[in-house]
Every structure is written in structure tokens, then in C-alpha cells.
């Protein structure tokens, strides 16, 4: 498995190895060059010495005075220093004893700039050669011979090569050790450098559904991790509130179901257990029916809410006439409004059309009409109006609401919220406005509510719902 730590460590170790290798190669090259230059300088000196020992004898014979005390090394068999003196035509004039019978390749150069070469003798000696063409001096005379000769001197370079090999071995061992130490240091550094990531990971792993209250401490984290932790904190906050909402919703839904269930159960048990008069029996059936209807309404609304949650983006768009949609919605609640003596005052322009989803809009308007018909005080007036306003159509529902307080307003659209939350046998579950607002958002609109002082008198107040629907 790929890990950040593994990859970082590997890359740093590879870079470290390359750098160490390059440093080793450079050092080796430098030492080798210095040693070679020094060796060549020595060899050059030897060449010059042998050149001065080369003389033309009386009688024209050219020879090197190997018996000279300056050059004893040439007289040892298989010695470190060798020479061979050739005539210009390649004929060998003289060779050192140390060379034995091995042949040296011709190497030409001028006395000012001798030529260097390497050669390996058949007996295994590796030699550095320096060659020069020159006119030897004539013995006891101040002038040079007119016969040009070619002198090649050689020196065994095994010692230098061994030194270089030892240097290479030393560099390799030092480099490898340094690399090992470096690798450990890198591993430690990466590991401790990534510790905040690991801690954050552990904290994140520890968060489960029950610990959504957890927040990560952002300040002590490195700058790169701070935005991550901050985003995680925001995500957790959103999750927590979503979970809370869901828990509250489930809790309330369960509560809303328990009461009618208790009613049905007790009704059945009482009727099985105790003798009842005909009137009591009829009353029981009416109670059972009312309870069942209440449960039915709850189930339908809960299903609608769930479908609304799933319906994100499936809202249709077709031309809808606002006036007729509102009238249609009011019809469902007309009977209830009339029974409560509520007068309707509708002012809807005829030509207001919007593209919307007629079904979802119907649910929104239906719930708003139902809310007014149910909660406007008996004998009061409900006013519904509509108007076009900068790219939107506003539908306003207004009725008296003396019981509501400013503190109630934030809860108005909460699921299961009711002004008198405890009424178990209320006709409504407090889902209508929640449903209306959620569906309004689904069709691209908004639904808000405000309290106003009543227009008719100074003491009362009115609630106004504003449904804003987009025109395009």
C-alpha cells in the first residue's frame, strides 16, 4: 500500500544516494587526476634524466649510461622503471635490464611536450609510458648529435592504481554508511514531521456517529493541515446538526404516533373489558375513526416529506396560472374556513403566469390555505394577494394571529412545531408549514413569515406568509 511516509522516505533516500554517489565520483576523479598529474610529473622527470644520460659516443654509437649512479633502478630485472631507446627507423638501440624482453609500443613527443601512454606488459606489469624524439648530446662536446632517437621510459603504476582502488573502496564504504545513516535520519525526520497528520488521522478515526460533537484543535496544527482540520470541523458541525435534526424528527414522529396508538389500544381494551351502552359504543367508534384519520394524515404528510427529500431536482416546469392555483388550493379548505366563520378576501391578478411544478406548488398553496383556515381566529378575515416583483411572483397570505409571539417565529417552519406543542388531540401535527417551506424550496422559491401589527386595531397582530416564486 502506498503511504505518504514511505514515498517521502524513498524519494529522499534516492536523492541522498544520488548526491552521495556524485560526491564520491567527483572526489575520486579529483584524486585520480591529482595522483596522475603527480605521477606524470615524476615520469617526466625520469624521462628528462634518461634523456640527459643519452649520449653519442665517439664512433657514432648512441647509448644511455645506465651504469650512472642516477639510474640504478633500470638495472634490476623486472624493476619499476624501464626504458627503450630506438633509432628513428624503429631499430632498437638499447633497453633497460628491468624491461626484460617485453616490447614497448612507440610513443612520440617533443622534449618540450612528451607524449604519455599506458601499456600492459605480457608479464602483467602495467606501465605508464612517456616518449620523446630528440637529438642526443655528443659526449664531451657542446653540440648535439644529428641522429634523432626515440626514447620511451615507463614506470610501474600498480602502486598508484592500488591507492586509487583503496580510495574507491573507502569512498564506497563511507558512502554506503553515510547513506544508511541518512536513510535512518530521513525516516525519523519524515516520521516525526508527519506526526501531526497521524494525530489528525487518529482523531478523525475516533469520530463516529455518537461523537459528532468532536472538534479538532486547529491552532497547534501545521499551516498545511489547518484548512483540512477547519473543513473537517465545518463538516462535523453540519453532520451534527443534520443528525440532531434527524434524531429530533424521529423522536417527535415516534411521539406523534404513540399517542394515537395508545388511544386505539385503550379504546379496544376498554370496550372488550367493560360493558358499554349503545351511546358509549357509538362514541368509541367515532373516537376510533377520528384517531385513525389523524394517524392517516400524519402518515400521508410524513410520506410527502420523505418524497420531497428524495425529489430534489425532479420538479417539473410547466406554465401555471397563479390565480387559479390559489383558488384551487383554497377550495380544499373552504368548508373548514366557512365552519369557522372565516371570510376570504382574495386579490389575485388574472394574468400572472409562472413556470412551476403544479403538484408541488399545489401542496405549498394547500398547506398555506389550510394553515389560514385552521389558525385564523374564528370569524376573522384571511387575505390572499399576489403581485409580480422583479423577476418573481409574490403570493401573500395574511390573517390575524394574536397568540403568536416573536419567539415562535423561528420555529414556525420546524417539523412538528405547534403553538401548543402538548396537544395530543390537535387536528394537526405541525407538519404543514414545514412541508410547504420544503416544497417551496424544491420549486426554486422561498417561503417566509412575518408578524405585523393588525391593520384594523392597535392591539392585535397579523401574520403574513410570503411565498416568492421565480418567474423564469
Amino acid at each position: 500500500m502506498k503511504t505518504l511516509r514511505g514515498q517521502l522516505t524513498l524519494r529522499l533516500v534516492v536523492v541522498g544516494a544520488l548526491l552521495l554517489g556524485a560526491a564520491g565520483v567527483a572526489l575520486h576523479w579529483q584524486v585520480k587526476r591529482a595522483l596522475g598529474a603527480e605521477f606524470d610529473a615524476g615520469l617526466h622527470g625520469l624521462l628528462q634524466a634518461v634523456t640527459t644520460l643519452t649520449e653519442q659516443m665517439p664512433g657514432g654509437k648512441i647509448e644511455i649510461d645506465v651504469a650512472h649512479e642516477n639510474a640504478p633502478q633500470f638495472q634490476r630485472e623486472r624493476g619499476a622503471d624501464v626504458f627503450v631507446l630506438r633509432a628513428e627507423d624503429g631499430r632498437e638501440i638499447q633497453r633497460s635490464l628491468s624491461l626484460c624482453d617485453a616490447a614497448l609500443p612507440p610513443v612520440a613527443g617533443s622534449p618540450a611536450q612528451p607524449e604519455f601512454a599506458d601499456a600492459m606488459l605480457p608479464d602483467g606489469r602495467v606501465l605508464r609510458l612517456a616518449g620523446v624524439h630528440f637529438f642526443p648530446a655528443i659526449e664531451d662536446e657542446e653540440r648535439l648529435s644529428d641522429t634523432k632517437v626515440a626514447l620511451v621510459v615507463g614506470r610501474d603504476r600498480t602502486a598508484m592504481d592500488r591507492s586509487l582502488a583503496m580510495l574507491r573502496a573507502a569512498l564506497f564504504i563511507i558512502g554506503a554508511s553515510a547513506l544508511a545513516v541518512l536513510a535512518i535520519a530521513i525516516a525519523w525526520g519524515v516520521n516525526s514531521g508527519l506526526a501531526p497528520v497521524r494525530r489528525l488521522r487518529d482523531e478523525v478515526c475516533a469520530v463516529d456517529a455518537g461523537k459528532l460533537r468532536t472538534r479538532f484543535d486547529v491552532a497547534p496544527l501545521p499551516a498545511e493541515l489547518q484548512p483540512v482540520a477547519a473543513s473537517l470541523n465545518e463538516l462535523l458541525a453540519r453532520l451534527e446538526s443534520a443528525f440532531d435534526r434527524e434524531r429530533r424528527f424521529t423522536g417527535t414522529a415516534a411521539h406523534e404516533l404513540r399517542t394515537p396508538l395508545a388511544e386505539l389500544r385503550v379504546l379496544a381494551e376498554v370496550n372488550l373489558k367493560t360493558p358499554a351502552t349503545a351511546a358509549e359504543q357509538a362514541e368509541s367508534w367515532r373516537d376510533a375513526l377520528a384517531t385513525t384519520q389523524r394517524m392517516e394524515r400524519l402518515a400521508v404528510q410524513l410520506l410527502a416529506l420523505t418524497r420531497g427529500e428524495d425529489a430534489g431536482g425532479v420538479a417539473q416546469r410547466m406554465p401555471v396560472d397563479v390565480a387559479s392555483a390559489v383558488s384551487e388550493a383554497w377550495k380544499q379548505h373552504e368548508a373548514r374556513a366557512q365552519s369557522r366563520g372565516i371570510a376570504l378576501e382574495m386579490s389575485l391578478p388574472k394574468d400572472l403566469g409562472i413556470p412551476s411544478d403544479p403538484t408541488l406548488l399545489g401542496v405549498v398553496l394547500g398547506n398555506l390555505c389550510g394553515n389560514s383556515a385552521e389558525h385564523a381566529p374564528q370569524g376573522s378575515r384571511v387575505r390572499i394577494s399576489a403581485a409580480a416583483e422583479s423577476g418573481a411572483v409574490l403570493v401573500l397570505f395574511r390573517n390575524r394571529a394574536d397568540a403568536l409571539t416573536a419567539a415562535d417565529m423561528p420555529h414556525l417552519f420546524e417539523r412538528f412545531w405547534r403553538k401548543d406543542a402538548a396537544r395530543s388531540d390537535a387536528r394537526h401535527h405541525g407538519l404543514g408549514l414545514a412541508l410547504a417551506q420544503e416544497f417551496a424550496v424544491l420549486i426554486g422559491g422561498t417561503l417566509d413569515a412575518r408578524l405585523w401589527p393588525a391593520a384594523s386595531d392597535s392591539t392585535g397582530q397579523e401574520i403574513e406568509f410570503t411565498l416568492r416564486l421565480p418567474c423564469a
Binding site: 388511544e263 386505539l264 389500544r265 376498554v270 367493560t274 362514541e283 373516537d287 388531540d425
Partner: protein
């Protein structure tokens, strides 16, 4: 035994009252917290069944105010909330028992009966008064081994007297504990019931103290 049932659901109010009456309890009902608190403060109940979620005043507040006023009436909390935290909260506020909706009617009746028994500190489930044997848990009574058939209300009356064996129980107290607000005030229900009970149990058990009340004890007059 007189019970107050505070519940905002009309269906539950009606049904449970019917069942409790059938069991011989005197039952008053209240539909919100304020009404319940007023009734609990005005009358001597043997037990109160209190819904937690009530309009006007919630059940826990009613309970707290009752306890603050020094009322030790046994209270059974009835609620749709069933988390441990809810139960703990209820018991901490001074509730004696806790029942979660939906509930079995028999369980509610049994718990109310148990609370009423606790109201008189009675733990023994049987009692012998002269030739009379009372079995409180089975709600049976027999005289010299012969079972005596009593109506639920007659049984409650006998039980009430038996729990205070040898004590003179004032007539008004009997009326307060055995009869609920459905009964006409100034009626002679208590005298009538005592008379009926005497007829069934035979002489020498329920005695009248003129101007004081009644007493249950084994004594020849």
C-alpha cells in the same frame, strides 16, 4: 379510592375513566396541566395519573408544584417519551411510577391500584376481620369461608375501611375518596353504599359512629 387522570387526549380521557370506574375507582379527569393542578390541590386523591406533555402546564411542572406545595399524593407519569433520560427526569421530579404510551390497560389499572395501596402504607395482601377474610390482590372477600359478591365500588369502600381498620372514617372522607365529581353533592350515596355493604357482609362488622363516621371492626354491638 379516588384517582385524578390528567390527559389532553379526549379519547384516552374517556376510555381510561370508563375502565377505572369499572374497577370501582372514583375518577376525576382534567384536560390540561392547570386544570389538573387545581384539581389535585383542591381534592384528596389516592393517586394521580399525569400525562407529561400537557397544554398550559406540562406534567413535570404540575408534579413539581404539587411536591413544592407539600402534596405527597402518589403520581404515575404517563408519556410517549421513553428514553432513559425522560424516565430519570420524571422520577427525579418526584413521580412514583412511569408508564410509556402505548400501554396495556390492565397494566395501568394494576399500577394505579398498587399506588392506591401504597397510599395507605399497606403491604400485606390479606386481612382477617372477625369471620371476614379479605384478599386485596385477588379482590375477594369471604365470610366464614363463603365468598361474598361485591360490586367494584362496594369493594373499594370495604377496602378503604379495611385499610384503616378500627379507625373512625368520617363520612366526608369516604365521599371524597370513593366518589368522584360525577356524584351529586349532598346525596346520601355513602349511607346507601354502607347499607348495601352491611347487607352483604352481615352484622357486627361496619359500625356507625353518630356524627363522626363509620368504623370497620369485629365487635358485637
Amino acid at each position: 379510592m379516588r384517582v385524578l387522570f390528567v390527559e389532553d387526549s379526549q379519547v384516552l380521557r374517556r376510555s381510561v375513566r370508563r375502565a377505572l370506574r369499572h374497577e370501582g375507582f372514583a375518577v376525576d379527569v382534567a384536560e390540561d396541566g392547570a386544570e389538573g393542578l387545581a384539581a389535585a390541590e383542591a381534592n384528596e386523591y389516592d393517586a394521580i395519573v399525569l400525562d407529561v406533555m400537557l397544554p398550559k402546564l406540562d406534567g413535570l411542572t404540575v408534579l413539581r408544584r404539587l411536591r413544592a406545595a407539600g402534596r405527597q399524593t402518589h403520581v404515575l407519569l404517563l408519556t410517549a417519551r421513553d428514553t432513559v433520560a425522560d424516565r430519570v427526569e420524571g422520577l427525579r421530579q418526584g413521580a412514583d411510577d412511569y408508564l410509556v404510551k402505548p400501554f396495556a390497560l390492565d397494566e395501568l389499572l394494576a399500577r394505579v391500584a398498587a399506588l392506591c395501596r401504597r397510599a395507605y402504607g399497606a403491604k400485606e395482601s390479606a386481612l382477617r376481620v372477625g369471620a371476614l377474610d379479605l384478599d386485596f390482590s385477588a379482590r375477594r372477600v369471604s365470610r366464614s369461608g363463603t365468598p361474598v359478591e361485591l360490586t367494584a365500588r362496594e369493594w373499594r369502600l370495604l377496602e378503604y375501611l379495611a385499610r384503616r381498620l378500627g379507625e373512625v372514617v368520617p363520612r366526608a372522607e369516604i365521599e371524597a375518596h370513593i366518589y368522584d365529581e360525577m356524584v351529586e353533592p349532598m346525596s346520601n350515596v355513602v349511607d346507601t353504599a354502607i347499607y348495601a355493604l352491611r347487607q352483604k357482609l352481615g352484622p357486627g362488622l361496619i359500625h356507625t359512629r353518630r356524627g363522626l363516621g363509620y368504623v370497620l371492626e369485629a365487635r358485637e354491638e
